[in-house]
Amino acid sequence: MTSQTSLRETESYNFAYLDEQTKRMLRRAILKALAVPGYQVPFASREMPMPYGWGTGGVQVSAACLTPEDRLKVIDQGADDTTNAVSIRKFFQRTAGVEVTEATTGATLIQTRHRIPETPLTEDQILVYQVPIPEPLRFLEPRETETRRMHALEEYGLMHVKLYEDIARHGEITNSYAWPVMAEGRYVMTPSPIPKFDNPKLSDNPAVQLFGAGREARIHALPPYTKVVSLDFEDHPFVASKADHACDICGSHESYLDEVITDDQGGRMFVCSDTDFCGTRSAALAAERG
């Protein structure tokens, strides 16, 4: 792709690709979602120039929030250089011409898939999640008509039975990601498939958290400082877990780790999934050592 064609594409589409009417529709849905934390707001999801499942919901939400002054960060699995993160970042560079960054602290809008950055967010930031299945009850009840009714009546018994049965059969709740949460004491919602390690970061977060599901045409949200509780039982409390190692690159004990296979002899190592966190920490340590 030459710079000349990039320029042309920027000019032939509206800022951030979507037309202004569509963005207004999205913003109305986002505002409604923020007003009712955890409630899934239907919206007229558009066909985007990338496939459903690649983050079309997140991309639409980001497009509706972006301004020319924004600085965008895109991560997938915690990393800025995963192929689809690269592709989405490039999409907004082409269609919105916004500045991009890999630094969590330098971004005003972060689009993510499957992780919450390790570095705490601030009130000046928006975190946009890509969501495959926005309905936390979907695998217990496949019908949308039923699950909407269950949410309306706050009928969450089925979910508690599922969690109980896990404990009865396995001794613990077997969700390891997309652990369901209660938003502000009313709606059970999915935090999208983030590892349960990330769940505590959902609560009382100063940033605006928006969840976009394109194929399912739903947006849900957590306004800043929303109380978010991971579902559990008094005698089986929720535990945010991760691999019991330190990062083999930066040495952090606090970050979520990816396991990397290094050879065919069973060799493996553990590294931070958040590449910006790992890089920043390694650089700081190197500077200390002089």
């Binding site: 499942g53 192929t83 008509t145 390891s176 194929r215």
Partner: protein, 361 residues
């Protein structure tokens, strides 16, 4: 020492360059033109227009070329383009009774006013590979009796049945149908919305569902009252003028089925209708659509509950769109390292608890 995998951007650029080269194939072989695809692969073009929900044979042919013949990929290209187009307004309902038919068959009556017209059909071809086609430059002999202009204004066969009151009335609804591409699908859907979803639904999915009803999963015993293919005029009302003007023509396949119906608590015994309408020459799709339409109407006709897949509105409408389906299916090849890592840890923990004697390292 582990080095974090970098270079996603270069990998993507290289993949795109390779794809472009593969798309062209051997450059010693002449390149396909869009016009060739439009003229000679018409049924592919028609499918892309139908499921892409955009009537434009040239763009559909271009999409097929760009997609290397992968029709679902081509449909996706058309959908993504269509969604960026401005809406000027809605046309008037097309009048299929005035269709210039090139094909028109009825399975319910031996002879019908206007006659049966086989048209350009595969129906009675013997499926023998025609090796003469492998030799290029041979034009087929001119078809005798072919009228590419079509017959004008042949009456609908279903109308004859209706005179006796044997078939349910097809109510002329005045309400503006909802637009699936501008509003999120909400269930239960009305028939207009269902038909809209089916019209852009995947041909293969609808074919299998329709087939399942024939084999007993839902039991729609359908007769083809009429299947017609041809051009219809599209008119739009211009507010400044105060009257409608012709803005173009589209080719449509329309299928009306007649179905046995023994009556219910609310309806007397009568024949009932299934309806299919698709862009282009897509009669397999039009037939399938009309069977699935009829199967989905069980509730409004007061039929007893029968949990067949084709009668389940939520199941059918949630899964008939191949762009949604293929996107979600194929996304599982994207990275899931983080989720998988959390699953790994869980499985190790559960195994350690289940087999305490075999210590995990």
């Amino acid at each position: 020492m582990y080095v974090a995998v970098k270079g996603g951007e270069r990998a993507i650029d290289n993949a795109h360059a390779w794809l472009a080269e593969e798309r062209r194939g051997d450059t010693a072989v002449a390149e396909l033109s869009v016009a060739q695809i439009r003229e000679q692969l018409k049924l592919s073009v028609d499918r892309v227009m139908a499921e892409g929900s955009l009537f434009d044979p040239d763009l559909a042919a271009l999409a097929i070329k760009q997609a290397r013949g992968d029709l679902i990929e081509a449909i996706f290209l058309i959908r993504a383009y269509r969604t960026t187009l401005p809406r000027f307004g809605a046309t008037l309902p097309v009048e299929t009774a005035t269709m210039a038919v090139i094909r028109r068959v009825s399975a319910t009556f031996r002879d019908v006013p206007g006659g049966q017209v086989l048209g350009p059909t595969f129906d009675y071809t013997h499926r023998l590979l025609d090796f003469a086609l492998a030799a290029e430059g041979l034009n087929p002999p001119e078809a005798a009796g072919a009228s590419p202009e079509g017959l004008d204004s042949v009456p609908h066969v279903m109308g004859f049945l209706n005179r006796e009151g044997l078939i349910e009335e097809a109510g002329a609804g005045d309400e503006v149908p909802p637009d699936l591409t501008r509003e999120a699908l909400e269930l239960p859907a009305n028939r207009a919305l269902r038909l809209q979803a089916l019209a852009r639904g995947d041909e293969g999915f609808l074919l299998s569902l329709a087939y399942s009803t024939q084999r007993g999963y839902g039991n729609t015993h359908a007769f083809v009252g009429e299947l017609r293919i041809g051009q219809v005029v599209v008119e739009a009302e211009i507010p400044e003028l105060g009257f409608s003007v012709e803005i173009g023509e589209v080719e449509l396949s329309e299928c009306e089925t007649v179905n046995q119906f023994g009556g219910s608590k609310t309806e007397p015994p009568q024949f009932t209708r299934g309806y299919g309408l698709v862009f282009g020459q897509s009669e397999r799709k039009a037939l399938s659509m009309s069977l699935v339409d009829r199967a989905l109407r069980w509730k409004e006709l007061g039929e007893s509950h029968n949990p067949a897949p084709a009668r389940d509105e939520e199941f059918v409408l949630s899964h008939c769109d191949n762009i949604q389906a293929t996107g979600f299916l194929e996304h599982i090849k994207l990275p899931h390292y983080v989720d998988f890592q959390s699953e790994l840890e869980l499985i190790r923990r559960l195994r350690a608890a289940a087999t305490p004697e075999q210590e995990e390292e």
